[in-house]
């Protein structure tokens, strides 16, 4: 999917919501556990109930890997279902991968070819040759960690490196990489005041923003400092939406929570 197609979807749906599919068998409605594939059954119900309210879904691979082969199979069924039934949806494999060049190419094949996601998240620590293999894929997007939403972000990301914070060095350096137009960035909503500085460095890039809701980030603040002319934001919510209810009505409850966010987004887009 191209960035232009994503922007069109945002304007059509009046939504820049991404729903995180972080499926924990201890948290989903217990009646689903008797299904042959409870993880996929849960995802399918959530997707069918919410697809018109969001523009992206983001399964975090950790939650699938934790269930071994069954989990990987559920991930495969989920991305196939999305690509077949809702091809207009932007899909994100939240995998935070990164390795030396030839190995990153194998990860890129795993997520862009075998699983056919539109995008994958990567970690920057290993530098240029660990990320460029992902960027080489046409019409695919590589979403690099810049400033994350957790407390540990302050351990290294905000430390000063040669006059500016590490996450700013990461942003600036990455602009020089080959096919850098395929980069998006993860910036946590819990640090809304940082968005203005970030937009100075990467005015045009899309930002994937976790941390609204459960982690305490504020949507209005993020939009105030982070939005650009093409919107440029994908706001992720996972637990706040998918675990809105643990009863039979879980999918409808998720849609209600998603609609609350979508309506707030529509107001912001119409301002």
């Amino acid at each position: 999917m191209t960035t232009n197609q994503l922007v069109q979807e945002i304007n059509k749906k009046k939504s820049f919501l991404c729903i995180g599919l972080d499926v924990d068998l201890n948290k989903i409605p217990q009646h689903l556990l008797k299904e042959e594939d409870p993880i996929f059954a849960f995802n399918k119900a959530i997707i069918d109930a919410t697809h018109y309210l969001c523009v992206a879904y983001k399964p975090n691979t950790a939650f699938y890997e934790a269930y071994g082969l069954k989990g990987w199979k559920a991930l495969e069924k989920t991305i196939n279902y999305l690509n077949e039934k809702y091809p207009e949806i932007f899909t994100i494999a939240d995998a935070k991968r990164g390795d030396i060049g030839n190995t990153s190419t194998m990860y890129a094949k795993a997520f862009f070819e075998d699983l056919a996601f539109d995008s994958v998240t990567v970690a920057p620590y290993m530098g240029k040759d660990s990320v460029e293999p992902f960027l080489a894929f046409e019409d695919k997007h590589t979403i690099m960690l810049a400033l994350t939403s957790n407390a540990g972000a302050f351990d290294f990301q905000t430390k000063t490196v040669e006059g500016k914070e590490l996450y700013k060095q990461v942003l600036e350096t990455s602009k020089t990489w080959e096919n850098s137009e395929n980069l998006m960035y993860v910036v946590g909503a819990t640090k809304a005041e940082y968005f203005a500085d970030i937009r100075q460095i990467i005015p045009d890039s899309f930002l994937l923003v976790p941390g609204v809701g459960a982690q305490g980030g504020n949507l209005q603040d993020v939009c105030k400092y982070g939005m650009n002319d093409s919107v440029g934001l994908l706001i992720n919510s996972s637990r706040g939406i998918i675990y809105a209810s643990s009863q039979e009505d879980f999918a409808q409850a998720a849609a209600n929570k998603a609609e609350e966010l979508q309506k707030e987004m529509a107001l912001i887009l119409n301002q």
Copy 2:
């Protein structure tokens, strides 16, 4: 496996060799492609031929994920085979994972419980709360990227952060984390001159050292600057061993290459 048990194995086998199982179907002997599971068939033959020459095996998860479900199944069969037949071997899931706390716990479960590896590699960018969930597992080891063997290591890792290089900040900071005694570190062999400084910060920790052989690192130099009283080194070789031959004799050829390194290690240990 405890660190003491690993040290005992090193002294018994006179080897601190780790063999990287990075299986690429384009590189393995073509007669294996008619096997039901070519990846596992290759690994089993390599392991049976080399287990007495090394103390650790390190499958890189990228090479398995690239083949989807079949790849994940081959990874599962490989770790199960190692744990059943050669329980004295230290096993490393080279996965370079890292995410916010509850998600890192899911990754830890994937590699320590579902797949029962002794250790997993992780990336430091997201800080303390992305790594501590791994450290909480008793008798399991978390191998954190410090200074990697690729060119991109110079993009961020060697940049100066508050008076010292980022990788040194990572080493020092990580010592303050809970259960930090379960940490090991990745330090590339291509940067042997850095080992002396690194040993000032973490004199006792084990280092996993990629980059000897194919990437140009020198075993003698690494040992000179990096070895401690408990050896403290796991030297990894992947392609140089497992792809020594692409013919029917591939397992024996791999054993011959492994033996060359093991003999060099025995000489160093006997000095």
